[in-house]
């Protein structure tokens, strides 16, 4: 392994990963990290939607590469992945998609391990990572890959300069937490609550506890699962998060567009506008935290 992964008690602000762009995204102020399933509901519209996120202020964009058995997703994102698959999305098309995007934010690919593992004749994660790097992807999130099984992928990411983001659940403590945090880079995905993805509008106690538990690890903490409004984002960042990850609330807009047969432009506009709201919320939260006397 060549990357310098998150270590407790490392100097705050030190580079925690391979991607300078991702590090930069978290460096100045809170990061807004939106997620969309690529190819939902089709290639062209999806491109417009992702670009709208960028215009709306995305600091990092998570691109979902659809897998047929997305065991970590709630019904909303599941539905998006099925739409994308039905519209013909494949790993190769995904990389083309990434290459063709006109966005500023660094891209992170979120997918399941089997697609990474199977990408080439030569099984193992390396070919996928190589291709991802070539397509301009700067990081990976793999929800079904536990730290224990991640070393081959970690190595490939280090070789090609990608970050490997891990998810930390409210129940992740002790040794397991160390094991994960010794392998994470770029940012850690803090799961706001137990369960799968899906938009909700309260802030969970579990989030605060998770952030407390992670305080000593030198890596940006992005909180996700269920964030749906600017206010919501504000409270989470005020609570100590370095960024917010938003998926289902955005996917809901895409789904609504499909259901009501809205124009690509109309949907893109709504995505951009919710993005702006979320980003501003996060910034308000950050400001509040800076003012608070006990902020670290």
């Amino acid at each position: 392994m060549t990357g310098e992964h998150a270590k407790p008690d490392a100097d705050a602000g030190a580079e925690t990963g391979n991607s300078a762009a991702i590090a930069a995204a978290f460096a100045d102020g809170p990061a807004y990290v939106p997620y969309l399933a690529v190819g939902d509901p089709d290639y062209e519209a999806s491109k417009a939607y992702v670009e709208a996120l960028d215009r709306g202020g995305a600091d990092v964009i998570e691109l979902g590469l659809p897998f047929s058995e997305p065991i970590a997703e709630g019904p909303t994102i599941q539905g998006a992945l099925v739409r994308a698959l039905d519209a013909g999305m494949t790993p190769d098309r995904f990389f083309e998609f990434a290459e063709g995007l006109d966005v500023d934010a660094p891209l992170v690919c979120m997918t399941y391990y089997n697609l990474i593992y199977q990408y080439d004749e030569e099984t193992g994660p390396r070919p996928f990572v190589e291709r991802a790097a070539a397509a301009g992807i700067e990081g990976l999130v793999v929800p079904d890959l536990p730290a224990e099984e991640a070393d081959p992928l970690r190595e490939a990411c280090d070789e090609f300069g990608l970050d490997l983001v891990f998810i930390v659940a409210p129940t992740t403590v002790g040794e397991r937490l160390d094991r994960i945090m010794s392998r994470v880079s770029g940012y850690v995905y803090v799961q706001a609550r137990l369960g799968t993805t899906g938009a909700r509008d309260d802030v969970s106690d579990q989030t605060t506890e998770s952030l407390d538990r992670l305080a000593d690890y030198d890596v940006p903490k992005a909180v996700g699962f269920g964030i749906s409004s600017g206010e919501h984002a504000e409270r989470i960042v005020a609570g100590g998060a370095d960024g917010i990850i938003v998926g289902s609330a955005l996917v809901d807009i895409v789904a609504d567009g499909v259901e009501n047969d809205l124009s690509t432009e109309a949907v893109a506009e709504r995505l951009e506008s919710l993005s702006r709201e979320l980003k501003e919320g996060a910034e308000r939260g950050h400001a509040a935290r800076a003012e608070a006397p006990d902020a670290s």
Partner: protein, 437 residues
């Protein structure tokens, strides 16, 4: 301490059990060579760790007498031991001794209860308050619902909406036993989606809930735990074979879907190197696949699948070149799964298990043959093992044990529909049944 010296002197003769590494495989780390593991969302890891701990304490170390209670309930509620029956007419037909391990006689009509009862009881020992399970054809769901009623545990079963419509009698049986049946509308509404959905439920409810997985699949410790619960099949069969015939069988044959009856039938024989083990998969209509449509018209993941990760484990899978899981197909819905237990994948790679595929036609013929000649109507899953016997008996040794994993009452409609499409010698006159029962 002079007494202990005396004891030590005697120990080598009696106290060292013959090492049976095959039985221990995977128990510690969930790895079977390259296969196995725990490929699950982080949120599930604590549950998996808690379960691993409970598995070690209760199942492996019989803490609080768990295994004693399990065996007693399997006997009293389940009907174990289950006979190993000589099949007189098949023995004559194939000119070798054919023995049937009669799991079709287990309460519920299939081997599934061995596992379901073990896991529901374990959940009780763990202090869980709720059981969830996935089901495809409904066999695992009905077994779990029975075990949950027996042990007074609230139970919810996830089942694809399409499967619900195809398997209404089993849905009704689950409800009769007091279980909720939750329709899964996501995706294509079949077993794969039901498993994913059950994992999602578990991810939100791990603290109170145990997920009773239905085969030797999923993340560690499921594959070893389910195998250990199902191993009672081969433990009994091995003893019964010695008792009845004076020796071990030359061959053991079992059908393989996820592989729980397969591993259950093989476990006690894995270390008996002279016993050949045959895992019979569903060859469906053909072993060719339609890459374009993402459909394999079979579910021969051991025979034709490639290594990959599905539902928490690395194993052999039916997948397209991108790694997307294929829709599998079989005349028997219980074999209709794109994956297989990681231990089987390992044993096949090692050459210890012989993977074979039997197509829909041969399975259906096996169904009719066993019904007509032995008075046992097998499940369509089980029928694949008898298709294998017909096609390959000349390659087998002189004493073959076939696991009759389940009975066919659940399959009467499917048997009518499929028999109608074909011209099968051993089938009865079907004219009055055309169009279903």
């Amino acid at each position: 301490m002079s007494e202990s010296d005396t004891r030590t002197a005697e120990e080598p003769d009696t106290a060292v059990p013959s090492r049976r590494p095959g039985r221990e495989r995977g128990r510690d780390d969930g790895k079977f060579g390259r296969y196995g593991g725990q490929y699950v969302p982080e949120a599930l890891m604590p549950a998996i760790e808690e379960l691993t701990d409970a598995y070690e304490r209760y199942v492996l170390n019989n803490e609080d007498g768990f295994m004693d209670e399990f065996r007693e309930r399997l006997a009293d509620f389940g009907g174990r031991p289950i006979p190993l029956q000589r099949a007189d007419r098949l023995s004559e037909r194939y000119d070798r001794e054919i023995y049937l391990k009669r799991e079709d006689l287990l309460h519920g009509g299939a081997h599934k209860l061995n596992n379901a009862l073990g896991q529901v009881l374990l959940a009780k020992y763990m202090g869980k308050e709720r059981i969830i399970a996935e089901t495809g054809a409904g066999q695992h769901g009905t077994a779990t619902a029975m075990a949950a009623a027996h042990l007074d545990m609230p139970c919810e079963i996830y089942m694809g909406e399409r499967d619900i419509n195809r398997q209404r009698p089993n849905v009704f049986r689950m409800k009769l036993n007091g279980s909720e049946v939750n329709p899964v509308t996501a995706g294509r509404g079949t077993l794969k989606e039901a498993i994913s959905e059950t994992m999602r439920d578990w991810a939100t409810t791990v603290e109170t809930t145990h997920y009773v997985i239905g085969s030797v699949v999923g993340p560690h410790p499921f594959p070893v735990m389910v195998r250990d619960f199902q191993a009672v099949i081969s433990e009994e069969a091995r003893e019964q074979s010695i008792e009845k015939t004076g020796g071990l069988p030359t061959d053991v044959v079992a059908c393989a879907g996820g592989g729980s009856n397969t591993m259950g039938s093989f476990a006690a024989f894995v270390d008996d190197e002279d016993v050949a083990l045959h895992a019979v998969e569903a060859g469906g209509s053909t072993l060719e696949v339609d890459e374009e449509a993402g459909v394999a018209p079979n579910s021969a993941s051991l025979y034709t699948g490639a290594e990959g990760v599905l539902h928490g484990a690395r194993t052999k899978l039916l997948q397209d070149s991108d790694g997307q899981i294929m829709e599998s197909h079989s005349i028997s819905s219980g074999l209709d799964y794109a994956g297989v237990g990681p231990e089987l994948a390992y044993l096949v790679d090692e050459g210890r298990v012989n993977p074979v595929a039997v197509d829909d036609d041969a399975a259906l013929e096996g169904f009719h043959r066993l019904s007509r000649t032995e008075g046992i109507i097998p499940a369509l899953e089980t029928a694949h093992a008898f298709g294998f016997l017909e096609e390959h008996h000349e390659e087998l040794g002189e004493r073959v044990v076939v696991n009759v994993s389940g009975r066919g009452d659940k399959d009467l409609d499917a048997a009518i529909e499929e028999t109608d499409k074909r011209d099968i010698d051993e089938a009865p006159d079907m004219s009055m049944f055309t169009g279903g029962i």
